[in-house]
Structure formats: C-alpha cells, structure tokens
C-alpha cells in the first residue's frame, strides 16, 4: 500500500498530472506516511527520472517544468507537516534567484531556478525587476549559498554589479556565491564585476552552481 501510493506519486509526476500528484500526496499523509518518506521515495525519484530523461533527450522542457510544478505543489502540502515535526528535507544548497531591477525578463531566470530545484537545490525565486536591497534581505534571511542574478538587457546588466556592491556593503559577500547570467552577460563581464560564476545557458548554470558548492571554482 505504502509502496503503491509512492510509486503512483512518482508516476503522476512524470506524466505531468499535477492535480493527481497533490491528491496522492494528501492521501499519503492521511495514510500516515511520513512527509520525508513521501519526498524521498515519491517525489524526488520522479524528479530524478525526469532529469535523466531530459538529459537523454526523451523529455523536453515542458515535461520537466510541469514535473517541477507538481513537486512544488506537493511540497506546499508537506511543508507544514515538516515544520510540525521540526524536520527539513535534505537539500543540495539554498539558492536565491531573480532578475535585476529595471528588467522584466522572466524565462531564463525561471528555467535556471527550475533546473536547480530539479537537481535538489532549494530555490527562492524573487521574480523580476527585483531591487538590490530585496536580494540582500533574502540572502540574509535564508542564509543562501548561491545568489543568481539575471539580466537580459545591456542597460540592466549594470544592476548585477550594483547587487554585488550591496552585498559587500551588507557584509554578506563572503557568505554567498554570486552566479550571473542573461543574453548580454559574458565571462569577462562576470569577472569585471566580481561574480563567482557565469554560464551561457540554464544547464550550464546548474553545473556551475554544483561546482561552486563543491569549491571547484
């Protein structure tokens, strides 16, 4: 019974049946299955398979993103239960991500955020047009390991430098690795503004994030 319901969660996650994932998660809780078990044996295996299928070219972004959405909605149900038990799911690292002030481009940043969550990072997505102080606050509040700053315009990429300066001012610069990205952003720009990492695309960003946490770069 327990195995059956967890397998169904995995299966529905992969099928993109978000509503069923949420319903099944609720049923699992009612049946007395521990939230951590639902995560580790129902949801995460699904995300892992989705990630593998994506790397093999069998899955496309819509498959991956809808699976991640299923996971997020299930987590919303599980989080109160977890805090009741004073438990936290194991995460690879905590990420704060957003598009800098004056820039309303959403997709690149959201893709990176989703792919990071698929890999097992806890992602706090602040959205678009995010003022520098908001990034600083959130980094402080969450103790984030990584801060991802997106900018799609040559005129707004300056905002990435401003956020880094704000981190320095707040005395947080040494506590968080800064990852920058966006169409006009380059390795040389990343170096110029003193960012820790840069990637050309979303999958590259995940790799850089993992490397940064492992201290490879």
């Amino acid at each position: 019974m327990v195995d059956d319901i967890l397998a169904q969660i995995t299966e529905n996650l992969l099928k993109g049946e978000t509503e069923s994932v949420v319903t099944l998660t609720g049923q699992a809780l009612t049946a007395g299955i521990e939230p951590l078990m639902i995560i580790n044996q129902g949801l995460l295996p699904g995300m892992e398979i989705a990630g593998e299928k994506f790397s093999r070219g069998e899955f496309f972004l819509p498959h991956l993103l809808i699976a991640a959405k299923g996971m997020q909605e299930a987590m919303a149900l599980l989080e109160p239960e977890l805090s009741l038990r004073q438990e936290t799911p194991e995460v690879l690292g905590t990420v704060v991500i957003g598009t800098v002030h004056g820039d309303i481009h959403e997709i690149g940043k959201s893709l990176v955020g989703t792919l990071l969550s698929v890999k097992g990072f806890q992602v706090h997505d602040l959205g678009v047009d995010v003022p520098g102080e908001r990034f600083v606050e959130k980094v402080k509040e969450t103790g984030a390991d990584i801060l991802g700053l997106s900018a799609l315009l040559t005129t707004t990429m300056i905002g990435q430098r401003e956020v880094i300066e704000a981190l320095v001012e707040a005395g947080l610069r040494d506590r968080v690795k800064v990852l920058v990205g966006g169409a006009p952003v380059s390795q040389s720009w990343a170096e110029e503004i003193g960012a820790d990492g840069y990637a050309e695309d979303a999958t590259g960003a995940v790799q850089v994030a993992q490397d940064l946490l492992e201290g490879k770069s």
Partner: protein, 487 residues
Amino acid sequence: MRPIFKLLDDELVHKIIDEAFGLLIDPGVRVHNDEALALLTEAGAEVDLASRIARIPESIVRDALQTAPSEFFLHNSDGEPVVHYGGDRIHFDPGSAAITVLDRKTHEQRDPKTEDFVAFVKLVEMLPQLDAQSTAMICKDVPEEIGDLYRLYLALNFMRKPIVTGAFGKDTWWTMKELLVTMAGGETELAIKPIAIFDVCPSPPLLWSDITCQNLIDCARSGIPAELVSMPLAGATAPVTLAGAVVQHTAECMSGVVIGQLSQVGAAIVWGGSPAAFDMREGTTPMGAVGTWMIDCAYAQVGKALNMPTHAYLGMSDAKIVDAQSGLESSGGTILAALAGINMISGAGMMDFESCQSFEKLVIDAEIIGMAKRLVVGIVARDEPIALTLMRSMGHEADYLVNPHTLKWFQEEFYIPTGVIDRSSYDAWKSRGGKSAFDRASDRVDQLLGSYQARPLSDDLRVELRRITTKAAQGFGMEELPPIPIE
C-alpha cells in the same frame, strides 16, 4: 504575377483579429507609462491605475487602424524615397543591436568596438542588395548608457541609406532625435523626409514597459516612424500554437497602433515583430526555426489585412559559425519573408540568435537577398509572343548565347551572384585556391571595404554630431569619444 505566400485563410485571419480585440478587453494591456495611460483613459479605455491595466474597446482600435497610414517612405541622404513601407514591397536591412561581432581573424565572438561598427556601416553601404542600414552593433568602448545613441552617431557619419534604429532609454531617445534633426537640417525636414525608423518593443505577453512606450509616444509626436517589434515566444511567453502566438502578436501590435495614434493622429507605425518558436530542449529563441518563420509570415498577413505596413526579423541563423546551418536557416527565412511581402526584413549578417553580427555572413546573406528579390519579381512573358517568333527564327540552332535577345534580357531574367557563390568547374575552383564560401565572403568584404567612397559630409555637420554625442557621453563619465576613422 507577383508570387505571394499565405499561410492563413480569410476565415482564420478574421478569427485571429476578433480574438485579439477580445484580448484587449480582457485581460487588457498592462502599460507602465503614465502618459500612455492618460491618453488611453481620455480616449475611453477602462484604465485601472493600480494594476496599470488598460482595457481597450474595439472601437478605439478600429479608429486607430483607420488613421494609421498604410504607407510611407524612408529617405536616403539625397532625399530620395528609397524605402517604401506599404503593400507587398520588400526591403532588407541588417539585424540590429548585436552584442558581439564575429572577429574577422580569430573567427571568435568578441565585444564590438567603434572601428568594427564603422566598417560594418561601410559594408552595408557597398552591398546593393541591402536597402537600409541598421544600428547593427552595440559598441563596448563607450559607456553602456549611451550605447544606443553612439551607434546612430557613428552610422550617420558614414551612411547614405536610411536607418532602422532604436533607443534603450527615455532620455537617450531625445539625443538620438537631436542627431537626426541635425542631419536632416531641421525638425520639419526630418518629419517630411524621415531618414530613420525606431524599433519599439512591447514585452510579451501584452505589456508595455515605460521606456519603450515613451519612445513610441515621442516618435509619433515628432513625426518619426516607429516599428512595433512584438515578440511572442510560442510555448514560453505566448501560446504554443502558432495561431495562438499570432493572436497575441495581433493584440500587442493593435495596442501599439492605438498608443501611437492617440499620441499623434496619422503617425507612421509599422506592424512588425521578432517572435520565436521557443526551443523546448535548450530553452532558447531560435530565429532559424520553421515555426518562427511561420509565425512571422502569418502575422504579416494579418497586418496586411488591416492595411498596415509590415516588418519582421527574419533571415537570421542560430548557428555559432558561418556554416551550412547558417546558410540554410538564413535562406529559409529570407525567401519566405520575401514571398510574404514583408516591407522591412531585418536580419542579414546576424547569427547566434540575435546576438552576433558577422561581416562574412552579411555578404553571403546579401546573395540570398539578391535571389529572394529576383524570386518575387516572378515569371513574366517579356515578349509577345513569349518565344514563338524567336524560336522559329532560330530553328534548331542552339546558338542563343550570341542572339541579341539573350543580351537584352539575361541580366533581368537571372540573378547574377558575385564570386561569393561558386559556380566554376572543380578544376577552376581548385586553381583559385579551393576556397570555402566563408573565405570567398571574407575576400569580398576586403574588396568592398577597400572601394567604399566616403559620404560627403560637411565639417560643420561632423563637428555638430560629435558635439551632441560627446555631451551625452560626458553625462556618463566619458570626456572624449573614441576617434572615428574619417577618410
């Protein structure tokens, strides 16, 4: 007959237009510009100031479509109307605002500098297939904040053809206008014979940022044409169905026409765009995807049904080097755009989506454009009878090469490429160095740049353009502009 490519039947065109009217009511358009919201309120749109959402009734849109001109011209430096927006006429300009240039020696992408863009402008002047310039690269040797106006300043020094440009800020637009007014010899002169058009880009879905909306208003009020560049990304920021993306495009363009006409009745506005069929593997916006081409051609058809002049970003490639992918993608987009009768087709030279400009690709693309322009002339009889008299006089002789009839028509009937396209025998090709298309293109770039004739520009004018631009640069910490090569 002029061949025309249509993807939509009349019923579908009407359905798309109807649904776009519906979108403008619900959910409406979000406009982050106070002036535009005031204009919309005054015109009778239902505006919620808190959410900045304007719900625009169909009647306002229909009025705006009525007063927007169905045609207008851009002029060259001799005051000739060389670009005719309207109908099925086609013109080509390079893809604009590249953030990198393909280095001619290393073949790697790098930051563009003043000398790169100056050379590029000269090359565009020298390519007869291109009808207009564009502010094709963002030079990195000046502050980011003047990146938009600096390109225009450089181009004005070297161009005769009109230019497709755009501003990145609200204030820089005014400096760009000042440069254009100086060039044209006065504000009225510029309005009567515009030499430039500004791209203004709504953000998908159904949103106008403050800057781009203000650019649209200011263009309309100054008699400077504006080109709406709506860019639904099908499957990402727009419905994944191609027809659905066109519905979104239609609504965004309609809202742009409304804002333009409310700013100034009769303002010249172009129904344009740069949509893409989102890549579901890489998360990128491919310009070489067949889905992208189809959205472009379909929205142009909708624009024509509404009597609007048209534009599209087509003829680009997603390739990172000038290779087979670059050739096939640029050809597909260029030829379909030409067949669709899109008035301004922007994209030549552009690769790596819309990121990189290449001199070599530009001259290869010019050949594609040459072929496309020939294609749309179609097949015509030329003689009456077509061939009967001629062939009877020739009998069974195969000697058409020496017949005056051949001499009379061959240059009109055939598009004759330059040496960029190789049509020699294998041995002849070998003996000329066995060069690739890229190498032949590189030779042609050298040859064309070597024969560029400087634009006759008075010293006073040069000094004044430089003064205006330097003043803007000083606002951002640059005391002296980089030198520009003036021969």
